[in-house]
């Protein structure tokens, strides 16, 4: 390959590699699997990635200020336990239980802020401890078990509450996909077209310069953690709506795919930083791959090998690009 061609192709690849990978996978799977390209399968892919995407979109905001938030999985668990308990144990109406569950879950962000901004614990380990604590909290709250309609509480008290059908529709097509698309769009607009987005990127891009430029950096860091807890809680509500009950550690499995989607998205369109559309593309890539592999009868327990490798590949391209800059 001539060097000038090489010089043009490598940057192009690192810019559009994710999109290219999605296209290549699409072509490959639609040739190998007759049912892959059907409309119902496309919708099923979108449905399968919607919860991960919503959680990942919140993490994307945290990443803009250079803050990794590992507590999103357990925040989702907490929100799902809370909302189902409100319905089943306390028979609360929808318009009370939804906002209340979201609001209570936001306290996770407060705790993260206490650890990170007040005690100055590095974000990775701070949110790691939050993750444990919240996981334990959610489990203690539910008494170590799941909550579903008609199931008595641990002390034997019978329950009469029902999960409203309107709530369950949050976990069904089309609403689940619409929620995801709105979340992506809103965060995309926030990050790219508002003052707040600029200042979030400024804080994460060079915190010392941001501070000396008179940007209230801690306010923006706090805002970012609140956003990540909010979307994690929203994801938790969607989990509960989808499975119609609260399961032990239901959100834990969403942490790693969300982290992967957000990091895969870094290189999208050559941005080299966390961004909403990139995160969406990352989630699509993982979703397409998972869907196709399942249809090719690859066992579910091997799936993490593939997902992990994709993450490693995406990170390698992002950081290798930085190194050579």
């Amino acid at each position: 390959m001539s060097s000038s061609l090489k010089q043009r192709i490598i940057p192009w690849l690192s810019k559009w590699g994710v999109v290219l990978a999605i296209i290549v996978l699409f072509i490959f799977f639609s040739i190998a699997l007759p049912g892959f390209l059907s409309a119902s399968n496309m919708i099923s892919i979108l449905r399968s990635i919607s919860i991960v995407t919503v959680i990942a979109i919140g993490l994307t905001v945290a990443l803009t200020v250079n803050g990794l938030d590992l507590s999103i999985g357990s925040t989702a668990t907490l929100a799902s336990s809370l909302v189902v308990s409100f319905f089943v144990w306390y028979s609360m109406p929808l318009f009370v239980s939804l906002p209340l569950a979201l609001l209570l879950s936001l306290s996770v962000a407060l705790f993260n802020m206490l650890l990170i901004l007040w005690f100055r614990i590095p974000d990775l380990v701070a949110t790691l401890s939050t993750m444990f604590i919240v996981e334990g909290l959610a489990m203690t709250y539910t008494g170590g078990g799941s909550i579903s309609e008609g199931m008595p509480r641990l002390d034997g008290t019978p329950t009469f509450g029902k999960i409203p059908a309107a709530f369950k529709s949050m976990g069904q097509v089309p609403l689940i996909i619409i929620i995801m698309l709105i979340a992506v769009l809103l965060v995309h607009l926030l990050l790219n077209h508002t003052r707040y987005g600029r200042l979030l990127y400024a804080t994460g891009g060079n915190i010392e310069a941001a501070r000396l430029t008179g940007i209230p950096v801690n306010r923006y860091r706090a805002f970012a953690y609140i956003m990540s807890a909010f979307f994690a809680a929203l994801g938790g509500l969607m989990i509960a709506a989808r499975i119609g009950s609260a399961q032990v550690n239901a959100g834990a499995g969403y942490l790693m795919p969300a982290v992967a989607a957000a990091y895969i998205g870094f290189s999208f369109a050559g941005q080299g930083k966390p961004n909403a559309l990139g995160t969406f593309a990352g989630a699509v890539l993982i979703g397409v791959l998972e869907n196709g592999l399942v249809m090719m009868s690859v066992p579910y327990y091997s799936m993490n090998i593939v997902k992990g490798s994709i993450l490693a590949l995406a990170l390698a391209s992002t950081y290798w690009h930085q190194k050579n800059h």
Binding site: H193, R198, G205, N206, E208, T213
Partner: protein
């Protein structure tokens, strides 16, 4: 005294960087058993020379000879093997904070020395050896103390002790006293005397502080613009000689005409700005006071380590004070963060622009407008939406006004030259209409001549509009050209106030290097 003298010679040493000839035919002889001072103004090549000896610039040309033998120093390991140890200003880079004093002293021995053969870590043996060395230096320092809890002076001591363990023959000190207190400096000098007298080590001592060298050095080499201009016995040079040699005779740079006249008649109402008894909480400067009015350029002269940068940060509330306050237009203000300083129109153009002033991966427009987004976007209740047209226009206006060389406003600033990057940092505050006090910290560092002139002109136009400029630098010639009043900072204290047209560069240098 005549035991095993060693000679370290550099001959016709040349180092070139893109655009800079950092060392030009440098030839110096160093020998063990004496202190050899290397002095020079900023950019004279002292640090480059030291880094060649430390093995950090393998691309040098010319010869380095050890006891007459040509040696090739391509890597720090080579210089250590030859017996040359460099104590850099950033001592922390050479120490492991969570190990003890003894372990740090014996580090080289454990890795390269006999200790590397030991599979088992012999704590007591290591402690004994380290204690013996520290004893030889007659220093009471707890060998079990963790290095992270030591003072700077103690950390230097640990590095010196390590050199002794490794039986180094030459120790190069890079500005070791820049951040030391008076008492600590005296202690260090006593120690260096011991090293030379009883251990027979050769000390190469790099410093700006001329006065202290007379008590320490036998021999001195003066460098200017990458070349050696004089070399000889220390007491053959007077302090005046040294200053003159450091500056050169052609140093009467008259940039005044180029940058226009001073004190353009300001018709505006004068703003007043007074700093009272600023004292740093970490002790880097104390009792700094000065007064100024709008339309002036106040110069603050000081060499590296004098406390300029710390003062600049404290002025915008980015560094905690022990005491002191600012009186702005008769109103008492105290900034606890740059946010507040900004509200009062006090802004900083920091020295480390790449680290503290710019977002390198972001566009010129992003960098120019980041401090003024509030006026370039819709209010909160309209979602804080960016007015992208205005954003672009303002950026283009500033790019034009400052002559920033960039293909367009979307180019990441990482691709701009140093001078153009500096213009971007300045432009950020010009767009902020409330700015009235501009603090420049070493604004011409790494900036080419043309951009330097542009920056000077810009400062003139700021003061012509009634703004106050506080200009901090170690480039003393610039101050003469641009400043009205000059305050000289030495060792964290204001040692002199002079008027720019009543002083000379050599006087300034004399004060800034500790003369009184």
């Amino acid at each position: 005294m005549e035991r095993n003298r060693h000679l370290l010679e550099v001959e016709r040493l040349n180092v070139k960087f893109p655009g800079v000839h950092a060392l030009k035919d440098v030839s110096i002889r160093f020998q063990t058993g004496e202190v050899h001072a290397v002095v020079g103004a900023n950019g004279a090549g002292k640090s480059t020379l030291m880094k060649v000896l430390g093995g950090l610039y393998p691309e040098y040309t010319g010869e380095v000879k050890f006891d007459g033998q040509v040696v090739h120093i391509m890597h720090p390991v080579h210089s250590r093997a030859l017996g040359i140890d460099v104590v850099y200003q950033e001592v922390d880079a050479a120490l492991i904070p969570y190990l003890t004093v003894a372990e740090n002293v014996m580090l080289g021995w454990m890795i390269h020395g006999e200790g590397r053969k030991n599979v088992i870590f012999r704590r007591n043996h290591i402690k004994q050896q380290a204690t013996a060395i520290l004893h030889r230096l007659r220093k009471r320092i707890d060998p079990d103390a963790l290095v992270q809890n030591l003072t700077l002076a103690e950390k230097q001591l640990v590095l010196i002790a390590r050199s002794l363990v490794e039986k180094q023959r030459f120790i190069v000190f890079d500005e070791p006293t820049a951040a030391l207190s008076h008492r600590e400096t005296e202690e260090l000098f006593r120690l260096i005397h011991e090293l030379v007298q009883t251990e027979g080590i050769g000390v190469i001592f790099i410093s700006h502080r001329l006065q202290e060298l007379y008590t320490l050095a036998e021999r001195a080499t003066v460098m200017r613009d990458g070349a050696v201009v004089a070399s000889g016995l220390m007491h053959d040079f007077s302090a005046d000689d040294l200053v003159r040699l450091m500056l050169g005779s052609s140093e009467a740079v008259d940039t005044k005409n180029e940058v226009g006249t001073k004190n353009a008649n300001v018709t505006r109402e004068h703003m007043t700005f007074a700093v009272h008894a600023f004292t740093d909480r970490a002790g880097r400067f104390e009792n700094i006071s000065f007064e100024a009015t709008g339309g002036q350029v106040i110069g603050i002269a000081g060499m590296v380590g004098a406390g300029k940068t710390e003062l600049a940060q404290a002025l915008v509330g980015a560094r905690p004070l022990l005491s002191g306050n600012i009186v702005l237009n008769g109103q008492n203000v105290r900034f606890s963060s740059p946010v507040q300083a900004l509200q009062h129109g006090v802004v900083l153009i920091p020295e480390e622009r790449r680290k503290e002033g710019l977002w390198l991966a972001e566009s010129v427009a992003f960098n120019l407008t980041i401090g003024t987004l509030k006026t370039l976007s819709r209010p909160f209740w309209q979602g804080g939406w960016l007015r992208s047209d205005q954003l672009r226009q303002e950026s283009l206006k500033m790019i034009g006004a400052l002559g920033i060389k960039t293909p367009n406003e979307k180019k990441p600033v990482a691709f701009l030259s140093g001078g153009n990057q500096q213009k971007v940092v300045i432009g950020k505050w010009l767009l902020h209409h409330a700015s009235k006090v501009y603090i420049f910290d070493e604004p011409t560092k790494g900036v080419d001549v043309g951009a330097k002139r542009d920056i000077m002109r810009l400062i003139r136009s700021l003061t012509a509009k009634g703004a106050l400029v506080i200009y901090m630098t170690s480039e003393l010639g610039e101050l003469l050209a641009i400043a009205d009043d000059i305050y000289v900072l030495f060792d964290g204290r204001m040692v002199q106030k002079v008027s720019a047209h009543e002083t000379t560069e050599s006087k300034l240098l004399y004060y800034a290097t500790g003369g009184v």
